[in-house]
């Protein structure tokens, strides 16, 4: 038990270190150009004096590494700075939106994960027969579809032609959970379709890999029914790879959410990020980028931790 805790702690520490390095990369990524924030606030017609004053006020005359540590110190204390475009505090703006985004991604995950695993099991059960072939064909098609195509197809047919849902997903304070679910139904469906096929195919591959083991053949020779073999013998051994697949796709969800939020005009992090990239509002972009990366890295850590717990062989590294 102690060994597991140590391994898990090591993995989390490594993740935090990675996050620190990522924050350096994100900060450096916005320093590529010689032009600076003062110029973009005041515009091209600003006088050199006004630029100089603003630079001093914002501390832009300090070297980049000092600005980086100032930025990092702020983040650790929960202060993400203020937006250039409207002077508002980023942390309060982001708080609500992060909640909205996680709600949307969460709903999509709750629907897509069990569905993908179930369909993956079906594909293994009917391997090389028509359900399996159908699943393969659909997968090939769906990894080629851009997110906005699925989104607009759903809007066009389900929202406009059938009128079942609204085409714009507005959420606001004081909505009941039912209203909220109704509002995110279409974006969540889009996200589900985006990740479902991929997750299904990888689940199928993971289980098939296990199915070729000797103990499965033994179980078959004992005369256990095909579904029981999958449920009792194959599935427990496939948990680690499946969790990996699920986490990989959830991480993908976090990114896919950006485009889907824009399609459905959903007030989440992605929409916020895209708006401020267009406005060249660097502090907001840095903050959003860091949060997205943090969620992505955390999901990967969770996948590794579950793999360590579910697979005894990983607990005793040589």
């Amino acid at each position: 038990m102690k060994a597991i805790l140590k391994l898990v702690a090591q993995r989390i520490a490594l993740g935090l270190l990675l996050l620190l390095a990522v924050s350096v990369v994100i900060f450096a990524g916005t320093q590529i150009l010689p032009g600076d924030v003062a110029q973009s606030i005041l515009g091209q017609s600003a006088t050199p004096q006004a630029l100089e004053n603003l630079r001093r006020e914002l501390g832009l005359n300090d070297p980049a590494y000092i600005r980086y540590f100032r930025w990092l110190a702020g983040i650790v204390q929960g202060d993400l700075g203020t937006a250039l475009s409207n002077g508002q505090d980023i942390a309060t703006q982001l708080g609500k939106r992060l909640g909205n985004t996680l709600f949307l991604a969460g709903v999509a995950a709750i629907v897509s994960v069990p569905l993908a695993i179930l369909l993956g099991l079906l594909a293994v059960r009917y391997r090389n027969r028509w359900p399996d072939k159908l699943i393969s064909a659909v997968t090939l098609a769906s990894i080629s579809l851009p997110e906005f195509f699925i989104g607009y197809l759903l809007i066009y047919f389900v929202a406009v032609q059938l009128g079942w849902f609204t085409s714009v997903s507005t959420v606001y304070e004081g909505m009941t959970i039912g209203q909220r679910l109704n509002a995110v139904a279409l974006p969540a469906a889009t996200l589900t379709l985006v990740v479902l096929a991929h997750m299904m195919r990888m689940t199928r591959a993971a289980i098939l890999n296990v199915m070729q083991s000797a103990y499965i053949e033994t179980a078959e020779l004992k005369g256990i029914s095909a579904f029981d073999i999958i449920r009792k013998h194959a599935f427990p051994n496939a948990i680690a790879p499946i969790v990996n697949v699920v986490m990989l796709n959830l991480a993908y969800l976090v990114v896919g959410v950006v485009v889907v939020e824009v399609v459905f005009v959903y007030p989440g992090m992605g929409q916020y990020l895209v708006d401020h990239v267009a406005k060249r509002d660097v502090p907001v972009v840095q903050a959003c980028g860091l949060i997205f990366a943090a969620v992505y890295i955390s999901l990967n850590i969770i996948a590794d931790v579950v793999a360590i717990i579910s697979n005894p062989r990983l607990r005793h590294p040589k």
Binding site: V22, Q31, L140, S144, V277
Partner: protein, 274 residues
């Protein structure tokens, strides 16, 4: 090569992909109207005069789509080429030289890959000028991390083979080993990957343009055309679905070809039947 042994799905892919490439190359000749030419009312329905109808400003949608094919395919192809050149040369170099260069490059790639590509691209595009060159550079260099991983993995295997050892013992330099010994032998897995990377680039570029951060209007590209016409969807005007569907069609047809090449190359290695 025996043409009759090419499966039907690969044929569909090859024909569609070549059709897209043909349209892209000869856009100026094929397109019935100019790229930015306003020819009719807003969102006119499909007709004999305007095959796909008109767009949000009254431009001929078919002409926009044809010019869009040129922009989209050109940028995606350029970015793929950049990604492959950078990624494979660095990957081979890391594998051949090894040591701290390998460690430094590999850890740096790990670091870049721990940030979602789209998010990092958005962060960088917030400060860079919006033009075609920037797009190609950002997309190509960010994606080269994946090519780096693949080519390094392939090259590490080849690097220990006898003929490479022989070349090193007779005193060939790194450049010879990389380009004359390893590159020819690593080509088939890389070619199979090429198609997949190209699709990824098309989807990536379309997503950026759809978000308004890729190709800037009035220049047409498929993601941008979706963005321009998206308001029409709510009124039941399907103009935005056409470019979106075309992106999907291109991606599927390239996928079909890539799938076939992938199967062929695994055959060469003594893989499963065929």
């Amino acid at each position: 090569m025996n043409l009759s042994r090419i499966p039907i799905s690969a044929w569909i892919g090859i024909i569609l992909t070549s059709a897209f490439a043909f349209v892209a190359v000869f856009a100026q000749v094929i397109a019935p109207y100019g790229e930015g030419q306003i020819v009719g009312g807003l969102w006119e329905p499909m007709s004999a005069k305007y095959w796909l109808g008109t767009d949000n400003l009254g431009r001929d949608l078919l002409s926009r789509m044809i010019f869009g094919a040129q922009t989209t395919l050109f940028i995606a192809a350029a970015a793929t080429a950049l990604s492959f050149c950078t990624g494979s040369v660095l990957g081979f170099t890391a594998a051949v030289i090894g040591g701290w260069i390998d460690q430094a490059l590999s850890r740096f790639v790990d670091l870049l890959m721990s940030i979602p590509t789209l998010i990092f691209a958005l962060v960088i595009l917030a400060v860079l000028p919006a033009n075609t060159l920037t797009l190609i550079l950002v997309m190509g260099l960010l994606d080269s991390t994946r090519v780096y991983r693949l080519s390094r993995a392939v090259a590490v295997d080849i690097n220990v083979m006898d003929f490479v050892e022989a070349a090193k013992l007779r005193g060939e330099g790194h450049r010879w080993v990389i380009f004359r010994e390893i590159l020819p032998n690593a080509l088939s897995p890389l070619v199979a990957e090429l198609g997949l990377r190209f699709i990824f680039m098309v989807l990536f570029l379309s997503a950026l343009s759809f978000l308004g951060l890729g190709v800037q209007p009035p220049e047409a590209d498929w993601g941008g055309i979706v963005k321009e016409n998206k308001e029409g969807i709510v009124f039941g005007i399907p103009a935005a679905l056409i470019p979106a569907g075309t992106i999907a069609a291109l991606a599927i047809s390239v996928n079909l070809v890539a799938d076939w090449i992938l199967n062929r190359t695994t055959d060469l290695k003594g893989g499963r039947g065929g």
